[in-house]
């Protein structure tokens, strides 16, 4: 099972000089998925990605990427099957766009010249301009081109739309979706932008303080998470719900709102016993799930 996964991380821990960046992170990314890795700034997203790429080593735990240990003897061959775009779109400032492409392509035997030509046209990249003279948007497009052309089985992107304006963000997301639709590539991308994850991801994991707190298919999460709103005649009662999956209870005047993560049936039965005037079961967005699962205290 583990080898069939594009990414399989099991109980990853990472300490940086006394700071626990990862605290037992477990993650499974099926092949062919467009996987959103959501978390607040500093939640451990970049550390996870660095471990998956073999750029950093886990203090303990086990990671497999395309069935291979990213810091093991096959790491170099593994990186030939991967593409990575870092948050800062790190490229060589002293090279031109053309030089960057000519530099990168020989490392990847499956380099897609057709895809290169397609994105050169689509992104309108100035071939003879130095990377240091590119705008943030252009630099991102170049980084994405260099990743998409590798013929990689797995694309790992760290905050790919960071710093982009809405138009550039949309262009980048559409390029990603189009690329995945055209092939068998798995995309694993980190973000703290809920809207973009919701727009393109089919699976998500939410990381908070170094552990995955929610993971699954986006549709399944939407199905299992429900908001139950109860309205009472007078002041809403202060009750502790015993039904499994009740994650949050909020009282405001006559209204009591529950957030349930394992479907609405059992919490609903318990809620009805309180004799509310009305009961509504409402769908929840990924943002609600994110805000519910990510603790806010620092």
């Amino acid at each position: 099972m583990a080898d069939a996964l594009a990414i399989h991380a099991d109980d990853l821990r990472k300490n940086y000089e006394g700071t626990e960046a990862l605290r037992g992170l477990t993650l499974q990314v099926p092949p062919g998925s467009l996987f959103g890795f959501l978390g607040r700034n500093g939640a451990g997203k970049t550390t996870t990605i660095k471990i998956l790429l073999g750029i950093a080593r886990a203090t303990s735990g086990r990671a497999r990427v395309l069935g291979v240990a990213p810091d093991g003897p096959e790491a170099v061959e593994l990186r030939r099957r991967l593409a990575f775009v870092s948050e800062d779109k790190e490229l060589y400032d002293y090279m031109t766009v053309e030089e960057m492409i000519r530099f990168t392509s020989p490392f990847f035997p499956k380099w897609r010249t057709d895809v290169e030509q397609q994105y050169r046209r689509q992104f309108d990249l100035p071939a003879d301009r130095k990377v240091k003279a590119l705008s943030r948007g252009m630099r991102t497009k170049l980084a994405l081109l260099l990743a998409l052309c590798r013929g990689a089985e797995l694309l790992i992107l760290d905050e790919p739309t960071s710093g982009l304006d809405p138009a550039a963000t949309e262009e980048m997301l559409q390029a990603l979706v189009g690329h995945v639709a055209a092939g068998e590539t798995t995309v694993f991308f980190s973000s703290h932008q809920i809207a973009e994850v919701e727009q393109i991801a089919d699976r998500v994991a939410i990381i908070d303080r170094g552990v995955v707190v929610v993971a699954g298919a986006l549709d399944d999460l939407r199905e299992s998470y429900k908001r139950i709103q109860l309205v009472f005649d007078g002041e809403a009662p202060a009750v502790a719900f015993r039904a499994p999956g009740v994650r949050r209870v909020r009282r405001r005047g006559r209204v009591l709102t529950l957030l349930a993560s394992d479907g609405a049936d059992l919490p609903l039965a318990e809620a009805r016993a309180l004799n509310p005037v009305s009961v509504d079961v409402l769908p929840v967005s990924l943002k609600d799930i994110f805000l519910d699962t990510v603790t806010t205290e620092d």
Binding site: I55, A56, F84, E90, L91, Y94, E99, F103, P106
Partner: protein
């Protein structure tokens, strides 16, 4: 393509170093007639102690063109300025700066990254050591003098092999610090400390790294300083191995 990257990253340091060292070697040659004309004035300078001894030694050596070139070019200009550029060639470009994650995500082992970077730098340092050395015999006829090409090559190779120690130290330090400044400053500090130690100690003065760099044994006795060269090469190899080990085991 890693070679191309390493070349792009170091080419300006290389070209500037080459220009400075060629000018330095050419300057030493072309000023010899002026130095010769000033030599009769030197006996009036009366300075005692170590400084006086050095001044008198410099005067004696300068009476002969071969001695003057060794003192001025190989022991001073090329050794000192060359050390600076050997250090500069060894720093930066490995995983410093803003592009380290891109480099590390390429399908290349970290040992190969160090190997290509070191080989490119050493090749450039070889040219920095040899070309200015060869400028001396080429330019000497312009002032009516002769300098042996083989001697220039031997001094150039001594400069290269011993100077590579500072290059390798800079490469090693570059794998320990993210910025290019601390490796440069630390390596230069070590070079200055060694230079000062050779100045104040008679033991290290003839067996130290700068003595090997200048080919002092070859100049004084016609003997290539094989032991010093081998020790320098061994130290360089150990430091480059250490750099590869450091990089391979470092977290980013």
């Amino acid at each position: 393509m890693l070679w191309y990257k390493a070349w792009l990253e170091t080419r300006w340091r290389f070209f500037i170093g080459l220009a400075v060292l060629i000018c330095s070697a050419a300057g030493a040659v072309l000023t010899y007639p002026k130095v010769l004309s000033l030599l009769p004035l030197v006996p009036t300078v009366d300075v005692g102690g170590e400084l006086g001894r050095r001044v008198r030694e410099a005067v004696e050596l300068s009476r002969e063109y071969r001695g003057y070139i060794w003192l001025q070019a190989f022991r001073q200009n090329l050794a000192q300025t060359g050390t600076l550029f050997a250090v500069l060639l060894g720093t930066g470009g490995l995983v410093s700066g803003t592009s380290s994650l891109f480099t590390l995500s390429l399908p290349v082992s970290r040992e190969r990254l160090v190997g290509v970077r070191a080989a490119t730098g050493l090749w450039e340092w070889l040219l920095l050591a040899l070309v200015p050395s060869l400028v001396i015999p080429l330019l000497s006829p312009a002032i009516g003098q002769h300098y042996d090409v083989v001697a220039a090559l031997v001094h150039g190779l001594c400069l290269f092999v011993a100077g590579a120690t500072f290059f390798s130290l800079a490469v090693l330090l570059s794998t320990m610090f993210a910025d290019p400044w601390r490796p440069s400053l630390l390596a230069l500090f070590v070079a200055i400390a060694l230079g000062v130690a050779e100045q104040i100690s008679r033991v290290t003065a003839s067996h130290g790294l700068f003595a090997v760099m200048s080919g002092e044994a070859f100049f004084r006795a016609g003997q290539v300083p094989w032991v010093g060269l081998l020790l320098s090469a061994a130290a360089s190899a150990a430091m480059l191995y250490g750099a590869a080990f450091n990089l391979a085991n470092r977290d980013f």
